[in-house]
Amino acid sequence: MAWYDEFPAMGRTELRDLKNAIDKGFRAWTREHGGTVEAIFEPIKDLLIWSERLLLNTPWPIILIAITAIAWFGSRKIPITVGTLLTLVLIGYFDMWEDTMRTVSMMFVCTLVSIVIGIPIGIAMSKSNLLERMITPVLDIMQTMPGFVYLIPVVMLLGIGKVPGLLAVVVYAIPPIIRLTNLGIRLVDKEVLEAADAFGSSSWQRLKNVQIPLAMPTIMAGINQTIMMALALVVIASMIGVQGLGQPVLKAIANQQFTLGVFNGLAIVGIAIIFDRVSQAYGKRLQSHSEVVHGN
């Protein structure tokens, strides 16, 4: 066999040994430090449980009113508010209320964690070109690596459940918020920044008074994308025990129950649209100062 017929790959045994060695090493590390890692994520687990209990234990009419109210105060648009109410009523009527609440709770915590981690990273990145060059390829990997792949080490480390689900979702969904925070701050008008400097703003004051407010529409677009990506990963995350609308979908695939799949799929689409429209309308409202432009 000529060398060009087949790529001269590494020997089979060596390759197997290499993979085994890495896996073994990781497993050993997991066994040793799994406890510590779990302890670190304890507060997030508590938050997940607390938020899920809150949504499940509160009587449904109150939740319905609360979410509709959030939609109204976020968007100030009647169509969006009515659409939200209608979607929730339909979801409840088709008996998907509990699963939906679990998914919403998961989304809420995932988005919160993404914001809390992502915005500071984005800010740091906007301040240093070196950091930007280092983080960008990492974000590319995080976004393109198939969702299933990082379920594996997460499961090895933390087993099955809410926290590993959250980790997988956050890793997948956090890049847009980091990227767009960085971009938004870098695009802030240089002249306005100069004025802030000329009056003696400290770097915190210039961040708080100028950079964040002017980058806010872009950051909101990032948050919006993060929410959408997190929702997209919900079905995959249900494979490692995240409860919610994803599990019935998985079950429907296994048992070939078309209607079950479609109903739950539509429920996911429904809340995705609610989240999307409300957060976008909110982002637009933040820009209201630029809407009335003097004629030129």
């Binding site: 008008d189 002249e191 306005v192 009056f199 003696g200 703003s201 002017l214 630029s290 432009v293 003097h294």
Partner: protein, 356 residues
């Protein structure tokens, strides 16, 4: 000695080259490489070269020059929005370029206020929230912020627009917001980069009066950039003229109008109304009073008024008196008229000579 309200500014040996390897071209520029050569051969922009200016505390220094001559670059060095390539900017003897972050921040907060050529308002803040910005940064209490801001908004004629956003205002109105923002800061140094350029003539005159009134009360050190020679002459105690980043002439308005250093400056002063700019003291003969003179004129009378007064009294000579009412010389109708028209005559002669 340090006073509360006035700060002197001294700029020494200031060079600014824009580009990645600015420092390495300093010697070439010092040895006479011009702006164009630097740009063509090395792709670096010569912003300023060998600037030496002394601005006494409490005076108005006007900076003029064509577009791209380095005016904005120069004014940005005074509060170090731009770092010089080499040189010193001394404010009351302290080099601004050597201040650490903290000292610089305090200097900017308490000693300077700036009006920007392109306004640079915060687009997400209303007029009043823009105007309080300087005081807010300093941590002045809210009530004081509001009263000060409203006072200046009123003074620049924008009462009633407090809650508008900048992009709901016209260019001239935005510029006045920038003006109010700087004045509210009440700093001893005012940096004004074409601060009145977007205003219509009436409001512009009004704002010039505001500045002059303010100057009578508070004696700030003002650096004022303008393209308008009449404005420069009205406001400036001294005028510096920039060309390709270098100062080509520096002096009082009288100096510049009467003795332009070169053609570039002559072009600047050609159109000016000399009768309103030149003062009697610039053309009078010092010495004893003329025995036959019946008319008395102040040293600081404009030639136009002097000529009118002499015509009305039907005399050809007048005595000049100083601020104390004492006689310090005499001026003739002939000298007055000659100074008023001389420039025009010369240029006409020149044109006739060329066309002949």
């Amino acid at each position: 000695m340090e006073t509360e309200t006035a700060e002197s500014i001294e700029i020494r040996g200031l060079y600014k080259i824009f580009g990645r390897r600015a420092k390495s071209y300093i010697d070439a520029v010092k040895n006479g490489m011009g702006k164009q050569e630097l740009q063509e051969k090395h792709g670096h922009v010569l912003g300023l070269q060998d600037i030496n200016l002394t601005m006494p505390a409490g005076s108005i220094q006007v900076v003029m020059g064509l577009s791209g001559s380095g005016k904005s670059t120069l004014i940005r060095h005074i509060n170090r929005l731009i770092d010089p390539t080499v040189g010193e900017v001394l404010v009351n003897g302290e080099d601004v370029c050597k201040m650490n972050t903290r000292a610089l921040r305090n200097f900017r907060r308490h000693k300077t206020a700036m009006v920007f050529q392109k306004f640079a308002l915060l687009p997400h803040r209303t007029v009043i929230d823009n105007v309080v910005y300087g005081l807010e940064i300093q941590g002045v209490d809210k009530d004081k912020q509001q009263t000060e801001a409203r006072r200046w908004i009123d003074r620049v004629g924008l009462s009633g627009f407090e809650d508008n956003y900048p992009n709901q205002l016209s260019g001239g109105m935005q510029q006045r917001v920038g003006l109010a923002r700087a004045l509210t800061n009440d700093a001893p140094i005012l940096l004004m980069d074409e601060a009145f350029s977007a205003l219509d003539p009436l409001i512009r005159m009004d704002m010039q009066s505001v500045l002059l009134d303010l100057q009578k009360e508070l004696r700030k050190t003002v650096v004022f950039i303008t393209h308008d020679l009449d404005e420069a002459l009205r406001l400036g105690d001294r005028i510096a003229i920039l060309r390709d980043g270098a100062v080509v002439q520096e002096g009082t308005g009288q100096d510049i109008v009467l003795r332009p250093a070169d053609d570039y400056i002559e072009n600047f002063v050609k159109e000016v109304n000399r009768g309103r700019v030149i003062l009697v003291e610039s053309v009078m003969k010092e010495g004893p009073p003329a025995a036959n003179a019946t008319l008395e004129l102040g040293r600081d009378t404009q030639l136009e008024s002097a000529a009118r007064a002499m015509t009305q009294s039907n005399v050809n000579v007048a005595n000049v008196i100083d601020m104390n009412g004492e006689c310090c010389g005499q001026v003739t109708m002939g000298d007055t008229v000659a100074a008023m028209v001389r420039q025009d005559d010369e240029s006409e002669d020149g044109e006739q000579a060329r066309s002949a």
